[in-house]
C-alpha cells in the first residue's frame, strides 16, 4: 500500500451522479483535467476546480508522453490543446495507422516521441504497438495482475498502470517491458500520476482528491538473519545480520530507520549500530559481536523495529 499523504478538504463537483470518464495530470497545468459527463474541468490538488467548457463525450481521453493527454475519435489520436484541454482535429498523432477496434481503450497511453502506443489488453497484459504502422512490438506481462484501466506517464520510458476497482497499480518500464514495482492504493473512481512530483492522484466517490507518494507503507519486517547463516558468533568476529522491510504487497520500503536491540538482560554481546536505514531493496543491516567475557556462552535474540 502506498503512503497516503494528503486528502483534500474540499470536494469537487461532478455535475451528475456518475463517475467522471477520465482524470489526467497535465504537466503544464500542474493540475488535472477532469473529463466528466457534462463538463471538462481543471482540478487542483486541493479540490478547487474551474470549468473549461464541455467535452465531446463521443471521444475518449488517453494519456500522452510528458504528462499530456490526447483524444481518441474512433480512428484518430487527436492532439489536445493545453489551454482549453480540447482537441485539434487537424493534429493527428497516428497518421500512418488507424487502430482497429480491440487495440485501443480509454486510458491507454501514447508516446509519440518514441513512436509507441500502449494498450491495456487483458488482465496483466499491456500490448505495445509501433505508432507508425501499428505493428505489435511486444507485450508487458504482469502475471496475476489486474486489467489495468489507466496507463499514466510517470517519467522517461515509464508509466504507472492503475486498476481502479482494487486500487492495484504497477510501475512499468515500457521501453524494457518490465514491471518495476507493484503496489496498491485505496480503490478509486479515477486515477492520475503527477509526473512532476511523483505522486499518485486518485479521486473517489466522496469527491475528494487523494495524494500518495510512490513509496509503500511498511507492513512486514522480516526476522533478522545472519548473512551467511552462522549460529555461533564469537566476540572478535562480527556477524553480519540483515532484515528486510516490505509493504503489504511485498514491495521494498526504502529509506526507513530500523532500530536494533538485544533482548537479553543483561545482553550477551553487542550490536555495532543502534539503527540503520533500509536500502533501495528494503534491506537494513548491522553487525553482531559475541560476548566479550571469556568463556561466556548462551543464547541471545536480536530485536528489530521500525517506527511508522
Amino acid at each position: 500500500m502506498l503512503e497516503l499523504i494528503y486528502t483534500s478538504n474540499r470536494t469537487f463537483n461532478i455535475y451528475s451522479g456518475f463517475a467522471p470518464f477520465h482524470l489526467g495530470y497535465l504537466r503544464s497545468w500542474d493540475a488535472m483535467a477532469l473529463f466528466g459527463y457534462q463538463k471538462l474541468d481543471k482540478l487542483f490538488r486541493d479540490g478547487s476546480q474551474a470549468n473549461l467548457g464541455v467535452a465531446n463525450t463521443y471521444l475518449s481521453m488517453g494519456n500522452r508522453v510528458g504528462g499530456r493527454h490526447f483524444w481518441f475519435s474512433g480512428s484518430d489520436f487527436l492532439a489536445a490543446d493545453e489551454i482549453t484541454g480540447q482537441y485539434h482535429y487537424s493534429e493527428i498523432l497516428n497518421p500512418g495507422w488507424k487502430p482497429p477496434v480491440g487495440t485501443w481503450r480509454a486510458g491507454d497511453y501514447l508516446d509519440d516521441v518514441a513512436g509507441l502506443f500502449l494498450h491495456s489488453k487483458t488482465s496483466g497484459k499491456i500490448e505495445v504497438f509501433r505508432l507508425a504502422d501499428g505493428v505489435k512490438l511486444g507485450e508487458i506481462l504482469d502475471p496475476g495482475g489486474p486489467y489495468y484501466d489507466n496507463l499514466a506517464y510517470a517519467g522517461q520510458g515509464k508509466i504507472v498502470a492503475f486498476h481502479h476497482g482494487t486500487g492495484k497499480l504497477a510501475l512499468v518500464d515500457y521501453l524494457n517491458r518490465t514491471v518495476i514495482l507493484k503496489s496498491k492504493v485505496n480503490p478509486c473512481w479515477r486515477s492520475a500520476f503527477d509526473c512532476l512530483h511523483n505522486l499518485v492522484i486518485t479521486i473517489q466517490s466522496d469527491r475528494k482528491v487523494r495524494l500518495y507518494t510512490l513509496t509503500p507503507v511498511p507492513a512486514v519486517l522480516s526476522p533478522p538473519a545472519f548473512i551467511p547463516a552462522a549460529p555461533h558468533q564469537h566476540r572478535l568476529l562480527g556477524g553480519r545480520v540483515q532484515t528486510r522491510l516490505t509493504g503489504d504487497q511485498g514491495e521494498p520500503c526504502a529509506g526507513w530507520w530500523v532500530h536494533w536491540s538485544l533482548k537479553g538482560l543483561p545482553a550477551k554481546g553487542y550490536l555495532l549500530k543502534e539503527r540503520s536505514k533500509t536500502d533501495a531493496d528494503g534491506y537494513a543491516e548491522n553487525f553482531y559481536f559475541g560476548p566479550a567475557a571469556v568463556g561466556e556462552m548462551g543464547n541471545e535474540t536480536i530485536q528489530v523495529k521500525v517506527v511508522v
Binding site: W29, Q49, N51, T84, H88, E91
Partner: protein, 366 residues
C-alpha cells in the same frame, strides 16, 4: 492571462413604455403588456455585434418583439465604444436582419459578414450590411472541403480566414488555392467571434467562456481561456467585439427581461489583464516526516483555472510554530504554481501554513 473587468453598463437598453392603449381588433404579443409588464417591446435576438472604428461605436443589430404591427421590429443600436452609452437606434433592413448572418470587423477596418442567403463572406457597409458591387467577397463553399461559416474573421492582409461553422474554429490560408491550416475544437457552443488584429481573434461561448486564438501562426493555437465576470446561468447569449482603439473587449450579455418587462441586458468591458479568482490550499507533495523537509505547492489561478503570473505568494506559519518555514515567499510560475519548503521538527506536531498574495491591477477605468 485572464480578463480584468473595467466597467459594466447595465441595463444597456431601455424599452419603449406601453402607452396603455389597446389596439383592436388586431393585437400582437399580448404577453408584452400583460401585467406586471409595462413595455410594448422586448429584445428577441441579436444578429450582429461589432466594433465600428470609423464612428468609434459598438453596433448591434437586434430583432424585437412588439405589441404593435407587424409584431416585430429590426433595429440597429449604436453605443459609444468609450462609455457604452446608448447613442441612437435606427431601422434596420431585411438584408441585415435576414440575409446577413453574423458580421464583424476585419482587415482594413472594414466590416465583413457571413450570409444566411448564400455561402459567401462579404465586405459590407457597417450601417446597412447590404453588400454592393465592387466589394470584396469570397465563397468558402468553393473550397476543398466545401465549407460554410456562420461566423468569420477576415484577414485580407495575410490572406487568412478564420471561421466557425459549428464546433470547430477553422483557419484557412486563401493566398492561393485555399488550404485549411487547422481545426480547433471550441470549448462550448459559440456565442460570437471578433477580430483583434492580424494575429489574434477572440471567441465567446454561449456560457460566457472567452478564448483568444493566434490564428496567424501555423499551426494556429489558443492563447488563453477565461470567462466573463460572474457568468449568469440565466444569460441567453454572450456576444463579443474587440475595440481596436482602446485594445479592450466589449461583451454584450443578453439576459431575460425583468418581471416588469424592463431590459436586463448589459455591456461589459474587459482588458486582457490578470484577474485572480483564487489561491488553492498549500498541498504537500513530499512525504511528511519528522526532521525532513516537506515541499508544499499552491496555485494562484484566474476565473477559468488559468495560472496567474507573476505574483508573489507569501507564506507564514501560525503560532505556535515548531518547525521552520524555509521559503517565506515564492513567485508564481506560468501555471500559477508557487512552492514552499518547510523543515519539520524532530518530534511529531501539527502546524498550519497560511498563504496570501497581494493583487494589484494597476489599471484605472478609462
Amino acid at each position: 492571462m485572464s480578463l480584468w473587468p473595467i466597467k459594466t453598463v447595465s441595463p444597456c437598453l431601455e424599452y419603449h413604455q406601453w402607452d396603455g392603449v389597446k389596439h383592436y381588433p388586431i393585437r400582437y404579443n399580448e404577453w408584452l403588456i400583460t401585467p406586471p409588464r409595462v413595455y410594448d417591446e422586448a429584445l428577441n435576438s441579436i444578429g450582429h455585434f461589432f466594433y465600428e472604428p470609423g464612428g468609434d461605436l459598438l453596433v448591434a443589430y437586434m430583432i424585437f418583439d412588439t405589441y404593435h404591427w407587424p409584431s416585430w421590429a429590426c433595429w440597429r443600436y449604436d453605443f459609444s465604444a468609450e462609455t457604452g452609452a446608448f447613442v441612437k437606434r435606427s431601422q434596420a433592413g431585411i438584408i441585415a436582419m435576414a440575409w446577413a448572418c453574423h458580421a464583424g470587423m476585419g482587415s482594413y477596418n472594414k466590416i465583413y459578414t457571413t450570409m444566411n442567403s448564400s455561402t459567401r463572406i462579404y465586405e459590407a457597409p457597417w450601417d446597412s450590411l447590404s453588400s454592393g458591387a465592387g466589394m470584396w467577397s469570397i465563397d468558402p463553399y468553393a473550397w476543398n472541403p466545401k465549407t460554410i461559416f456562420r461566423y468569420a474573421v477576415v484577414n485580407r492582409e495575410d490572406n487568412l480566414i478564420a471561421g466557425v461553422g459549428s464546433w470547430t474554429l477553422e483557419v484557412w490560408d486563401i493566398s492561393g488555392t485555399p488550404v485549411r491550416r487547422a481545426q480547433m475544437r471550441l470549448p462550448n457552443v459559440l456565442g460570437y467571434m471578433a477580430y483583434e488584429s492580424r494575429d489574434n481573434l477572440w471567441v465567446i461561448t454561449q456560457d460566457g467562456l472567452v478564448a483568444k486564438a493566434n490564428y496567424r501562426v501555423n499551426p494556429p493555437r489558443w492563447e488563453m481561456l477565461s470567462s466573463v465576470q460572474n457568468p449568469s446561468p440565466d444569460a441567453r447569449n454572450y456576444l463579443v467585439a474587440f475595440d481596436t482603439k482602446r485594445r479592450r473587449l466589449a461583451v454584450f450579455r443578453q439576459r431575460p427581461d425583468a418581471e416588469d418587462g424592463s431590459c436586463q441586458c448589459q455591456l461589459e468591458f474587459y482588458r486582457p489583464l490578470y484577474k485572480v479568482a483564487g489561491l488553492t490550499d498549500p498541498v504537500p507533495v513530499t512525504r511528511l516526516r519528522a526532521e525532513e523537509k516537506v515541499l508544499f505547492v499552491a496555485h494562484l489561478y484566474g476565473d477559468n483555472g488559468e495560472g496567474v503570473s507573476p505574483y508573489t505568494v507569501n507564506a507564514a506559519m501560525e503560532e505556535p510554530v515548531e518547525g521552520r518555514l524555509l521559503t517565506p515567499f515564492a513567485g508564481t510560475e506560468l501555471n500559477g504554481a508557487a512552492s514552499f519548503r518547510y523543515q519539520a521538527p524532530a518530534a511529531g506536531c501539527t502546524e498550519k501554513l497560511k498563504l496570501s498574495a497581494t493583487i494589484t491591477d494597476g489599471e484605472q477605468d478609462g
